[in-house]
Subunit: 438 residues, 2 copies
Amino acid sequence: MKEIRIGLLGLGTVGSGVVKLLRKNEDLLFSRVGVPLVLKKAADIDVSRAKALDLTDDIFTRNATEVVNDPAIDIVLELIGGQSVAKELILRAIKNGKHVVSANKALLANQGRSLFKAANDSGIDLAFEPSVGGCMPIIKLIRESLVANRINRISGILNGTCNYILSKITEENISFEAALAQAQANGFAEADPTMDIEGFDTAHKLAILNSLAYGMTINFQDIYIEGISKITPADIRFADQFGYRIKLLAISKKKEDAVETRVHPTMIPIQNILSSVKGSLNAVTVTGDAVGDILLSGHGAGMIPTASAVISDIVDIARNLLNGIKRRVPLLSFQTDYVREIPVVPMKEISSHYYIRFAASDRPGVLSKISGILGNHNISIKSVQQKGRKLEGTVPIVMLTHMANEAAIQEALSEITRLDVIDNQPALIRIEDEARKD
Amino acid sequence: MKEIRIGLLGLGTVGSGVVKLLRKNEDLLFSRVGVPLVLKKAADIDVSRAKALDLTDDIFTRNATEVVNDPAIDIVLELIGGQSVAKELILRAIKNGKHVVSANKALLANQGRSLFKAANDSGIDLAFEPSVGGCMPIIKLIRESLVANRINRISGILNGTCNYILSKITEENISFEAALAQAQANGFAEADPTMDIEGFDTAHKLAILNSLAYGMTINFQDIYIEGISKITPADIRFADQFGYRIKLLAISKKKEDAVETRVHPTMIPIQNILSSVKGSLNAVTVTGDAVGDILLSGHGAGMIPTASAVISDIVDIARNLLNGIKRRVPLLSFQTDYVREIPVVPMKEISSHYYIRFAASDRPGVLSKISGILGNHNISIKSVQQKGRKLEGTVPIVMLTHMANEAAIQEALSEITRLDVIDNQPALIRIEDEARKD
C-alpha cells in the first residue's frame, strides 16, 4: 500500500479544515505515518466552497454517491451533517467496504444503533473521534486509555456556545439574551442557536460517551435535557456567594445496573477544575475505578481543531490498512456481545442538592409557608438567604437544600408556586458537589 | 491466540497494583479485549511481596531471567526501576522476541536511545505510557491523537510530590521543610526525596515527552533543572499579590530548528488552568498548531492509577498480537528515519519574564543601585514592591521584569549580590505568562 486514499463528503467548516490541514502538515503526516494521505475526491453541492479551496476538477464533484462508490477510495469522511442523506451515504460506503470517519453526533446519537450494526456486520471501522469534544480525544481516552477501568461517572462541558454564554454572564453581569447576541456576533453561536442552548447538542455527545463508557446501546431518547436560556445574572451572583459556578453539564453516573444521565445547568464548586474552563473551551472529567478522576480540556469545536480529530481517526484506520487488518478496537469499546441495554434511572428518581430561588411578596410569614411545604415533602434546607432589597417588585428568597429527591422537589415547587405570595415559577438549579456529604 | 500471556518483573507498588487490577477487572478486560490477559510469571527478590498477593509457586519466581526467557510469555512488564538490571532484562526480553512495557522513566531518559534502537532493530514494541504522568495518557495523546499537529510547546506539572508540597506552602503558609515533612508523613514523598524535589524526576519525564513531540532523540542531559527546595512562603505570597501561583513546571518550546527545555519553579497566572491543579495531581498542556492548547490532568502516580496505564499498554500490544501484527505506531511517534538530533537552546540564551526578590538593608538609595545595574544589563522593570516591614533583619524588594535575557539576568544578579547593601543570594523565579506581551 503506497498511499491512503481519502474521499471527503461535505466541504463545510470541518471539511474545509480537513483539506487545509492535510495540505499544511502533509510532510509531518508522512514522517509519522510513512505513506501519503491523499485526498482523492471531495463532494459538496456548493461549487464555491471547492473554488475557495482550489480543489481541481478531478478531485471535486457535486455528486456524493460518486465518492462512496469510487473503488479507488479507502476511507470516507462523512462531514455533511444532517441525518437522512448522511446516513444513506455512510451505509453505502460501508456496503462498498470502505472505512468511515464521521463527525455527526446528531446522527450517531439518534441512529447510531443501526449504523454501528451495519459496520459490525461488515467488519468495517466506523470512527467518530470528531463527533464529541472537537480536538479532545475523549473517545480514545475512554475506549483505549481507560480500558482497565470500570467507569462510574462522566461530567463534562461539551458545548462551547453554552460555556461562552455562561462565562459572559458571569464575567460581565449581563443578561442571557445579551450574552447570546455577543456569542452570535463573535461566531460562537449560530443564527438559530436552539440545538446548542437548549442542550440537545450536549445530549447527543453524552449519548455517545455513555455507550462507550458503560457498554450500553446508544440511548439518546432517555437523556433528561434542560438548556441554559433561563439562567439569570442574579442566579450566577447567588451561586458565587455560595462558592459555586454555573455550567451546562453533561452528567452520567453508573448506579448498580442502571445509568443516571442528564444535561442541565449545574452548580459546581469554584475549586472544581471544571469551573476554570472558560469561554468556548470544552472539558470532560471521567471517573474510573482505577484512575479516579481524569480530566481532558481543549477546543471543542472550530475548523482546524476538529479537523485534527478527523485526521487522527484517518491515521488510526490508515495504520490498520497498512498492516492489512481492520477493527482492531471494538467500535463501542466493548466486544459486540457485551454491548447491551442498560436501564436509565427515571429523572424523578434521582437525588441531588438543589439551589432554589423564589420571587416572593415582601410580606411576613412567606419563609415559614415555603419551608413548611418543603418539610412536608421531606426536603431539608441547608441554608437560606432572604435579601432585603427588592428585585423586580419581589424579594428573592434563595435556598440550598440537603440531598433531596427530584420528584419531591418538583411536587413541592408546584405546590409553593400556587401560593399567592409567590410570583412566577421558582428558579431551580441542581448542584453537583462531590465534597458535600449532607 | 486464546490468551495473552504476561510476565511481570518487580512486585513493588506498581507491580503489585497490576496484579490486583488484572484480578479485580478480569471480566471487564475480557469483555473489552475478547481474550483473557493471564499473569504467567512474576519475579521479585522479595518473597513476602508475592505472599502478600497470594501468588502461587508456579507463577512466582525470584529469578527475573526465568521470566524474560520463558517461551510461554508474550509481553514482559519491567516494573523494577533502577537502571542496570532493568536495562539488561529489557534487552534480553527484546532479544527473545517479547514485547515490553516499562514504567522506568529514569532508564528511558538516560538510556532510551539504545533501548529504542534495540526494539526498532528487532521490530519489538516497547511501550511506556506508565513512565510519564501515571494514569494520564499523555504518550497516546501526543503520539496518536495529535498526529496531525506540529507541537510547539509542552508545559506540565509532572511530579505529584512537588505539587503537593507547593500546594501545602500556598494553602497553609508553612515552610518548605514543614511541607516536605507533611508530604513524607502522608506518603506523598519518599524518605530520600531528592529525585522529586530537585526536579530530576520531572526532567526524566520531559525528556521522554520532548522526543515524542518534536521527533528528537532523547536528550535528558541537555535539560536545565532547578528544584523547589528554595521556595519560601514569602515568595508564594508575593506571587499571589501579582496574580500568580508557583508550580514546578516542565517546559519545552519548539523554536525554529531548536528546542528550549527546562524544569524549574515557575510563576503562572492564577487564571491559567494549571494553577487549579492542586495536591498530588499532575497535568500537562500540549500546544499544537491545529488544536491550540489541550490539557490532560489526573493522578500522576499511585499504585492503581499507574497500573491502569500499564494495562492500557498491555491491551494495545495484545490487540496487535491478536491481529498478528506488531509495531503499529512508531515507538517515538515519528518513523525511525525522521527521529533526529535537534539542538537544545542553551539556558543563557532563553528569554523570560522574571520575579526577583532582594533582601536589602533598610538604607536610602538601595533601589536606585539595583535598578541601575539592571538597566546596564538591558533589563527593564515592570513593577517594584518595596515592603516597609522588615523580614529577618532586611527589607524585601520585589520586582517583576519585562521580557529579559537569562544571561543578562544572571550577570546583573551576581553584580547586585556583591553590593554591600544586599544580603544573601536574591530569589529568582521565572514567569510563564502567555498573556503578557511586554
